[in-house]
């Protein structure tokens, strides 16, 4: 009978608490950034009454959501209608568990602290397995509502999400080839340090700067927008065409859960882009010491990169208009799919020749 390592359990609980706290707070903060950001872009004040700079507006909204009436349409499928909002939360919260968010360091007791909830050796596989679950919530919500707008939103979203998931999976193969491992920890370690491009420019060894991999980055990043149903590709909601798409019939906290999972999925996607292409917690042109100082700096670096990507999500939403639906599908199947496959061949050639 093995004894339970209580220090290990304690550390795990601590890590889960940190990540969970960050993930649950990302929604109010991002809603505030979104609203203030859109106001900035459209030259209007935005929410500025509740708290300093309107910072508490999101929390006020959250309380309002709880107080609102929880509607249940007469024709809806009651069970599916109720559990659909939760299906968005599960992939968004679980995927983040396999993303490393800092440099490991040795604790005073000689124990290695790895800032990742679950250091699994199948990280990327797990991510895509869970990411495909995100489709279910939207399709279930769309069908169970018994509303035409919802149904069309749900069907559109499912077609869009599975199309772009393909480009996403294939773009990740390039990273996988370079790292030679499915573990995200290995993917990040591979990107530490730097390389010299054309014997002139010293660049961090991040995948995005690699001459073989910028194409995969573009495919992954744009597919990430489609996968999280964000603006140039938000056909699941498309408020000009489908009222509110799959959540037309939802009110109160059920609607808030969809809202939350959208922002959490965005945060998870940003963390993935950062980990796979932007070097994860690596600080450019600097080697972090293997102490708590290096750990703190690397966490800061990771959070900074994720924040920048999240801001780009907001920025794009308020500057680029929505595509036509057929153009979206054509972009996915005729442009991104071949691009991702060609990039795999390029990366494989680079490795075979020993250039990467």
């Amino acid at each position: 009978m093995h004894g339970i390592d209580w220090v290990d359990v304690g550390l795990s609980v601590l890590k889960i608490a940190i990540v969970l706290g960050a993930m649950l707070n990302v929604t109010p903060i991002m809603v505030w950034v979104e609203r203030r950001g859109s106001a900035l872009i459209q030259d209007r004040p935005g929410p500025n009454r509740v708290g300093p700079f309107g910072l508490f507006q999101s929390f006020a909204d959250a309380f309002k959501f709880i107080l609102k009436e929880d509607m249940l349409p007469a024709k809806a499928n009651k069970i599916l209608y109720t559990i659909a909002p939760m299906f968005g939360l599960i992939p968004a919260l679980t995927t983040i568990a396999v993303v490393p968010w800092g440099r490991p360091f040795t604790l005073p007791g000689g124990r290695l602290f790895e800032p990742i909830i679950a250091n699994v050796n199948i990280g990327i596989l797990l991510i895509f397995a869970l990411a495909s679950m995100g489709v279910y919530g939207i399709v279930m919500a769309g069908w169970a509502s018994a509303n035409k707008y919802s149904l069309f939103g749900g069907i559109r979203a499912s077609a869009q999400m599975i199309s772009y998931e393909l480009s996403l999976t294939l773009a990740a193969v390039s990273v996988l080839l370079a790292a030679g491992s499915l573990s995200l920890t290995d993917v990040v370690w591979r990107q530490t340090g730097s390389f010299v491009l054309f014997n002139v420019i010293k660049l961090p060894a991040w995948n995005i700067f690699s001459p073989a991999m910028w194409m995969a980055f573009i495919v992954f990043f744009v597919s990430g927008f489609a996968e999280t149903n964000r603006m140039p590709f938000d056909f699941a909601e498309a408020d000009a065409e489908l009222v509110a798409g799959y959540h037309t019939e939802y009110s109160s906290m059920k609607f808030a859960l969809f809202f939350m999972s959208e922002y959490m999925a965005m945060a998870t996607m940003s963390a993935l882009v950062t980990t796979l292409f932007l070097g994860g917690w690596d600080i450019p042109w600097y080697t972090e010491p293997a102490t708590w100082v290096g750990f703190a700096l690397s966490v800061l670096s990771f959070v900074t990169k994720v924040s920048i990507i999240l801001f780009i999500f907001v920025w794009v939403r308020w500057t680029i208009p929505r595509l036509k639906y057929d153009l979206l599908m054509k972009l996915g199947w005729k442009v991104f799919l071949p691009m991702a496959v060609v990039n795999i061949v390029i990366v494989a050639l680079f490795i075979a020749r020993g250039w990467l």
Partner: protein, 122 residues
């Protein structure tokens, strides 16, 4: 190892608990004033005339079929990609590269066929 995957399961459970707690909270705290017209499907204020679960275009089904085909391709690429760097040393490298190229070219033939059949013109 079960131990490393356990936290993933815990995160999943936490997500379910967060969802259930929030829904329960809103259900008990929020008001309930149901009326027949409020529970009707929303159609921009116009009374709905026909059934609400319409048939959808068969093209969506076609996309799902294509997705499965190409997703299996991706599933085949993953194991190759994991061992590629370790296995491709010296002459062996170009051999592995060529083998995969054959696979990708075969798939490209199917891809071009589907394209020519106008399956991507939605």
């Amino acid at each position: 190892m079960t131990h490393t995957l356990l936290p993933v399961l815990i995160m999943m459970l936490i997500a379910v608990v967060v969802g259930v707690v929030m829904l329960a909270l809103a259900w008990f705290v929020g008001g309930h004033a149901r009326t027949a017209s409020k529970q009707e499907p929303y159609e921009s204020g116009v009374p709905s005339l026909d059934e609400n679960r319409k048939r959808v275009n068969v093209r969506f089904y076609q996309i799902a079929m294509l997705f499965i085909l190409f997703d299996i391709e991706a599933a085949f690429l993953y194991p190759w990609a994991v061992i590629y760097r370790e296995a491709s040393t010296g002459a062996q490298g170009m051999f592995l590269f060529g083998e995969m190229l054959v696979f990708i070219v075969l798939l490209a033939v199917g891809y071009v066929y589907v394209w020519k059949k106008k399956a991507f013109d939605f």
